[in-house]
């Protein structure tokens, strides 16, 4: 994974596979306390205690198509090499919380990447799922949900070129402004 946006896309795919209908992503970049935190909560099917223990093991997966599961293990590794932490909490039938912190100024901290593209593509591919995104920095907060965007565009399709540019532009300018 080259950047945090790819990691987020990856974790969101986990939530979708767990049949989540509500996924909340919070990215916090704090310059004063020098940390960057990714926090992803979903209301999917959740995992048993044994599964939570195994989840960050690269040789564990819930899939039957292959024998390795690298998503969470790569995120954990990337957080740890950037002087950060990784945590996973989950409850069967309730949902899952994934949290990864990085030292913001650490040279191993991956760049944020094109998070606006990730959000747009995730919303486009899963229009029946509510996605909430919040970006927090020392300058303030920006929060948006897919429900608000769908309300905004009405029955105009999301893939329409002008709408597509408007949505990614809206996300990008608001995030950039906070950085």
């Amino acid at each position: 994974m080259k950047n945090l946006a790819d990691h987020i896309l990856d974790i969101v795919q986990n939530s979708l596979r767990a049949d989540a209908t509500l996924i909340e992503i919070i990215v916090e970049e704090n310059k004063t306390d020098d940390f960057c935190k990714i926090h992803i909560t979903d209301n999917g099917c959740g995992m048993s205690e044994e599964m939570v223990k195994q989840a960050a093991n690269p040789f564990f997966t819930s899939r039957s198509t292959r024998k390795v599961g690298l998503g969470l293990s790569l995120l954990k590794q990337n957080a740890e090499v950037a002087n950060g932490k990784f945590s996973l909490k989950s409850k069967l039938g309730v949902g899952t919380i994934v949290e990864a912190t990085f030292q913001l100024s650490h040279m191993n901290k991956p760049p944020l990447g094109e998070i606006w593209d990730v959000l747009y593509l995730s919303m486009l591919g899963n229009q029946n799922v509510t996605l909430a995104y919040e970006h927090r920095t020392n300058k303030g907060n920006f929060r948006i949900t897919s429900a608000e965007i769908h309300e905004g565009i009405g029955d105009v399709p999301m893939q329409n070129a002008e709408i597509r540019e408007a949505i990614t532009g809206l996300l990008k300018s608001n995030i950039k402004e906070l950085q």
Binding site: R63, L121, I149, E162, I163
Partner: protein, 131 residues
Amino acid sequence: MSKITSLADLKRLKDEVQSKIKLRENSDNPEQMVQVKVGMATCGIASGAREIMKYFVEELEQQAVDALVTQTGCMGYCYAEPTVEVILPRREPVVFGFVNKTKAQEIIDLYIKKGEMIDGIIPITFRTIDE
């Protein structure tokens, strides 16, 4: 239109766009539409599936193909990522492997628009007849 920075701007743009476009008749029955599913598990993302999905969304829209581009999980062809599954109306699904932008363009131009079989279908030993 000027830069979109708020939901109010987005709504204004929507009204502008809505008057220009004709609503797609098929959007309620996906069986009648071309479906493009991009493999978007860890293996796919690490191989650049995000760029490929974006490319399909942009190109299909530009070429006015009525298509539904979505994400799917790992199909077990991690060695061939990015993989793309294309379902043409009333046809069997076909999975393409090692899809880069050139391949994506070929899939759109030849398979999606003309229905011609092309190389790169998984299993990758598949070759079109003229080879």
